[in-house]
């Protein structure tokens, strides 16, 4: 038998091509099946809950991609049946980190009070990603009290900061003020106030700045004003200050804020110079 090198090369090339084509075909089929499954799940949103629930649970129990299962979790969050909420909590408690966090967020979207309450236990036993997902879920549900509870029960500084930051995002100024009564105005609390923003917060930030005993607290108050965009306050502090270094820092802050009030400072300086 004569072995022809060109034939071997051609055969190998053809095999490689067919393997690649087969791979593409399998991938196309998977994509196509996934697209159809997602469309079918979306169709279930308007279906009677008792008919949609078993189909969604079937998808979660079967071998499916994370994208399909995540869509199933969303549909589950829209089903107003106790079994649906129980199932969401089950997935949230599962060992699958991706789906677990998604289920937690879906509990937030669903807004079921009982399922939301179940997230408190999960927060205590979860890793950082899961804790973040729980805070996000409470934010989505607008459950300020739950986040406040997490802040007051925080076992370490990171947990406290995470909850305080979320209270700021949620605009829960009264809860931040309440926390300050026990812990004082920590840097994270001050920044969270800046995130919450508002006239009352601006007044509080000015008060904190003026009464600050450390540079860190003063800096945090300025950061708070930066976040809330309170350039009038920074200008006011600039005018009040007699310290050259402090004036420079405040001017720098106004520059960072891209404040139009900088012109006022420049005009005053020019008038003073003239």
């Amino acid at each position: 038998m004569i072995i022809r090198p060109k034939l071997i090369i051609a055969t190998v090339a053809l095999l490689a091509m067919s393997a690649s084509l087969a791979q593409t075909a399998v991938s196309d089929v998977e994509d196509s099946t996934e697209i159809l499954k997602i469309a079918a799940l979306e169709a279930l949103i308007s279906a009677p809950p008792e008919r949609a629930l078993p189909l969604v649970i079937k998808v979660l129990d079967a071998e499916n991609t994370d994208d399909v299962k995540e869509r199933a979790l969303f549909v589950l969050s829209q089903i107003d049946l106790p079994e649906a909420q129980t199932r969401l909590l089950d997935v949230a408690r599962s060992d699958d980190p991706e789906l677990s966090s998604e289920a937690v967020r879906m509990i937030g979207i669903g807004g079921n009070a009982e399922a939301l309450a179940g997230l408190q236990d999960l927060y205590g036993s979860g890793d950082e990603d899961l804790r973040e997902a729980v805070l996000e879920a409470y934010m989505i549900a607008g459950d300020v009290d739950a986040v406040y509870t997490i802040a007051t029960n925080a076992s370490d500084a990171d947990e406290f900061e995470g909850a305080v930051h979320m209270l700021g995002v949620m605009g829960a100024v009264d809860k931040l003020q309440a926390l300050s009564e026990s812990s004082g105005f920590t840097e994270e609390l001050i920044r969270a106030l800046g995130i919450a923003g508002g006239d009352d917060v601006n007044a509080t930030l000015m008060q904190i700045y003026r009464g600050a005993e450390t540079d860190d607290v003063r800096e945090a108050a300025l950061q708070g004003m930066l976040i809330s965009g309170y350039d009038e306050g920074v200008l006011q502090l600039y005018k009040e200050s007699t310290d050259v270094h402090e004036k420079r820092d405040l001017l720098q802050m106004m520059s960072n804020m891209d404040s139009d009030l900088m012109m006022e400072v420049i005009d005053a300086a020019l008038a003073g110079g003239a």
């Binding site: 196509s32 469309a39 308007s46």
Partner: protein
Amino acid sequence: MKTAIRLLLIALFVAACIGSESLGANFSVPSDDGWYTWQVDASDGGELQVYALIESGSPTKFRVRGSSLCYSNFRFNVDANDLGVIEADESIAWLQEFIRPAGDLSSDAIIAISLHAGDLPFEIIDRILSART
């Protein structure tokens, strides 16, 4: 004679098979271009108005409107050729042909099917969801 009977039985068997495949598939939207519409019983107990746009002889869009349902566009309103009242399962059988290949039309078809009355929409959705990936 025996051969003739055997052939007749085979023909009847094949016809039965074909008949069962196309059960409920009598309804078909004309292939002339334009919007067509027909009414079926809806999943919410009301009436569902189904619309199909035919372009170059094939459907390119499906829309549905119902008493409590409106999919895709609340202001959807077109001059369509009215095909009258159709059995839900017949309408589903026609729409089902456009589930594959996966794409925009298949999503429209699945949504439209899901809003029809009866068990068939759930059987179809179940089959799609049970497909192996």
